[in-house]
Symmetry: C2
DNA sequence: CACCCGATTGTGAACGTTCACAACGATTTC
DNA sequence: GAAATCGTTGTGAACGTTCACAATCGGGTG
């Protein structure tokens, strides 16, 4: 019933299997290879009857277009490169997966390259890899500022869109599709202020993260514009360990009525430190995070946080990429997150 | 100084840029295209002087081989597909990145496809995607048993190697490169027993994970062979939330002298529950995990756990793949992890 | 000097698609 | 009834490599 692959006998007598080509399909359907091509590409001016015959032949042979031949003549590989740092943090990995989904939906293939650091050698190697593969465009996942070098290197040869942070301020020439960290942090801070908090501490992310910087700045701005002065900032590096450490220091310094951690993992460490000290959340102190990890719902108590919609973000990114590839101009995109209110935030205890 | 791209004027007068080809290099070097090819492929019988001239021309033109033309004639795409579930758990993402690194080192490109679930539709789509791209082989990251269906579907058309769990027992025909979870769990259990613990509880991973099953079974076997009966098992699903819940239940049931969590995230939840209850680790109870997250070192206290070497694992995986592609037979590989002893485990308090 | 042999280089034909254009038939138009 | 038009189909030449094989150039050898 199925003769999915063609075959030819070698001189040695060995059987060499060969995937069916357009010609095979054409022969079976009784048309020319060009007609097959027309059907495949959905071009008009093919008699429905002919089209059906071709499609039947395609199905019967299990034919698939040869991507190499195709891209040889069209000069388009259909491949998008994703350049990502070698981390497994929630944001970058989620972005990577989301880009894969969006790109595949749009008919692109996704090629991956990771860099251990932002050294020129590593970046050159990755870019060379992409060029060898003739990727059409690159999505750069750049959660650290150092990776902007990558953007510059990549952009010399290929269209780039950066994700994971909004670099427009620093690099106006760069197209970036990212979450609006300012707006997200504002949502959280306002939420806490609206609940009646006046003393809101902050646990910051690492220095080299533009996202961390945006969240910190937004919180500070919001506090200031509410007329609240010089609030407390504790350093962190995204890990729950530093969240825990910050928690200890906060306990030593004396509790504020609320703490805003720049990401959920640090909030987790914080909750852990508070729990260990017998401090009740949100009774004694409210805690909010940022990211909405799948786990965050199940923290004790469930964490108030900001959710990023990676799927939309990635879809927009691919959309921008397509526009650039079509020769058009594209501008950066900023998508705001959604405040998710759970049990970890409540009005301050009235004294 | 640089004339990195060739160009030709269109009839319209527009300038059409074209990447340099072998012929361009050949012309510049004053040789034939075939000689260029020989230099490029490192074939013998090229006069050093000629070789150098060609190499200079290549550098001058910024020439890169056209992958499409190459794979059209060689019938090899040089692409390895990585099929991964749409999760951002530590194991799968680390594996994915590690495979990318190993594959690139071996001269392969890595194409990504993720599946949201293990439905036939999703898997067929992913496999079709790979076939359209003519990937040479597939690395299947299968942390859930359901994904074995994927292995079967993929294997119909392409060479597969599964990672992330050893499926040899269930599917002897499958080639898998994975960590030895049995051995790893044995290391932890023995470590606890050697410290003098006799009452070691276990927090299990999800039902559909073969890794979780292996760790559970190994712990149970080890306990039994030490003459210790019917030990306590608490259910979990890898998340720290269930670790926390298990911690609560353990506190209610009465403390064992040690708890072995099937992964570090659950251990984290456990530590958090213990911390909240004022239970001292390792004074009152020892805790051990599995995975060695980057964070684990910074847990309070630093977590004793088992480290997986993803880099070696991935390198072995690519090695196996190459052997298969070369037409050879390859057998499954199992790599043992390394016990990392930190502060969370200590001898039981003498009563 | 003719011969052969190894090392080096060149020539032309694939590979499987798309593109530009030609050819064909059926209808319509003058 | 010839010409023009439209819809449909076929033909041949790219695309940029690799592969198989032919050609050339030395220098030894009989």
């Amino acid at each position: 019933m199925t003769h999915c692959r063609g075959w030819t006998a070698d001189d040695d007598g060995t059987i060499v299997t060969r995937l069916p080509g357009m010609h095979d399909v054409a022969r079976v359907a009784g048309v020319s290879h060009q007609t097959v091509s027309r059907v495949l590409n959905g071009l008009p001016n093919v008699r429905p009857e002919t089209k059906e015959r071709v499609e039947r032949a395609i199905a019967e042979l299990g034919y698939r277009r040869n991507a190499a031949a195709r891209s040889l003549v069209t000069r388009r590989s259909g491949v998008i490169g994703v350049l990502t740092p070698r981390t497994h943090l929630y944001g970058p990995t989620s972005t990577m997966i989301a880009v894969e989904v969006a790109a595949r939906d749009a008919g692109y293939f996704v090629s991956l390259a990771s860099v251990a650091d932002s050294s020129a050698a590593a970046l050159d190697a990755a870019v060379g890899h992409f060029k060898d593969q003739a990727v059409e465009a690159v999505v750069l996942i750049a959660p650290q500022r150092e990776l902007l070098t990558a953007a510059r290197i990549v952009a010399q040869d290929l269209p780039v869109v950066t994700m994971s942070a909004d670099y427009r301020a620093a690099q106006p020439w760069l197209v970036s599709v990212a979450m609006d960290n300012r707006a997200g942090a504002r949502l959280v801070t306002r939420h806490l202020l609206d609940l009646g908090h006046r003393d809101v501490a902050f646990i910051a992310g690492p220095q080299n993260s533009p996202e961390a910087a945006a969240r910190l700045r937004s919180w500070r701005d919001e506090m200031r514009s509410a007329g609240l002065a010089a609030p407390r900032v504790y350093p962190g590096d995204w890990t729950s360990a530093t969240g825990f450490a910050a928690g200890r220091r906060i306990l030593a310094d004396g509790l504020p009525t609320a703490v805003f951690a720049a990401n959920d993992q640090m909030a987790l460490g914080l909750l852990s430190a508070f729990g260990a000290a017998g401090v009740d959340v949100p009774g004694d102190v409210s805690v909010a995070g940022f990211d909405d990890l799948p786990d965050s719902e199940f923290f004790q108590p469930g964490l108030t946080t900001v959710r990023q919609d990676f799927a939309t973000l990635a879809a927009r990114c691919v959309g921008v990429l397509e526009r650039i590839l079509a020769g058009g101009l594209a501008s950066s995109v900023c998508i705001s997150g959604e405040l998710v209110i759970r049990e970890s935030t409540a009005p301050p205890r009235t004294r």
